[in-house]
Amino acid sequence: MDNEQQSYDLIIIGAGPAGLAAAIYTSRASLSTLVIDESMAGGQVKTTHQVANYPGFVDPIAGHELARNMRDQAARFGTRFELAAEISAIQLDKPEKTVTIDSTQYSTRNIILATGSSPRLLNVPGEIEYKGSGVSFCATCDGEFYKDKDVTVIGGGNSAMEESLLLLQMVKSLTVIHQFDELQAEKITANKVLNNPKTKILWSHEPREFIKSGEKMVTKAENLKTKEIVTLESDGIFIFAGMVPNTTLFKNSSLNLSEQGYILANENMETNLSGVYAAGDVRVKKYRQITTAISDGTIAALSIIQKR
């Protein structure tokens, strides 16, 4: 197949709220805009059950519906989309930035990185191998498969405790494995979990391996203080280990990142690389909300529009 080249005024990597808000602004300002995402449009919003704190909706709106509306709104103003796309190469350091998908190379002088963040993987054996057949990342989705059974929850943050509360309505017992001596979740939620008679907890432990044994799952966890390995058998394992920024794609660039891997950007969303902007959950910031992502995307878009 021949290689194809396409040029845009702006390319946005990531079709979550930050990227879509930017696309709405730049497309309305007649900048040719391409949005690329490795999945469908919507970012984390699309998988949020109900959004109740987004202004303009008196009643809660389903996350997937809000995401679809944002995408359709951007498309109506002329935004082009490359969704479910696998980026094979990206070049950010030169004035002319390029993104390669299959045999097509897209070029631009302005790019917004709005790749968001993803659930953190533990990177231990068995985690991916048994996904869906003993290891789960969603209590809402898979909790009912473990009705009246014993489950293990990995994590002690807000997500882990909120999902644990849901699981406690269904399961026979729930064992939390947490790396610290106290839970990081908000106290009110954490206490509800800790005070439930079905809950057990392994403090200062970290999973090292998940093994399938017949219908059961075996967790091998290390006591971080004594280095002793304990073995815990349950019917299923739910992992909620926080979030990580999606910046792997940019590892070969000179982009400045924080120690945690988030992109550093100024108040105009400009990064250290000329013509490269960051918006949404992927950048260093205090609050990660739909509204703050929309704000970032808007600022990045306006910064680019005003340069014309």
Binding site: M40, T47, S133, D142
Partner: protein, 113 residues
Amino acid sequence: MLQTKLTTLQSKEELTNLIAAEEKVAVCCGRMGPMCIPVYGIFEVYEEKYPEIKFRNMDFDTPDADIIKQLPECRGFNGLPFTVYYRNGKVVKATTSIQSAKQIKDIIDEVFA
């Protein structure tokens, strides 16, 4: 009700007739949950990219979804959605839980090439 742009299979008969009539069929059986929605979205994109493949979804809670749930290939599945790929009426691949666009593309390349 599944709120997607995919055609939803309403009954066992619809699925049986579809896999009898079409060589390449992919069915995502789930709910409107966080693990299922991305797969429906990727199917929507791939529906345009791979017109020879019939992409469908099915409500996991409809009794007729037993035709998917009780497949031997889905035994031991404990994560939504259950996604099943049929070629010439036979199951050629089944996956449990969320899959990325790349994983789905790899399966398509593997079983529908």
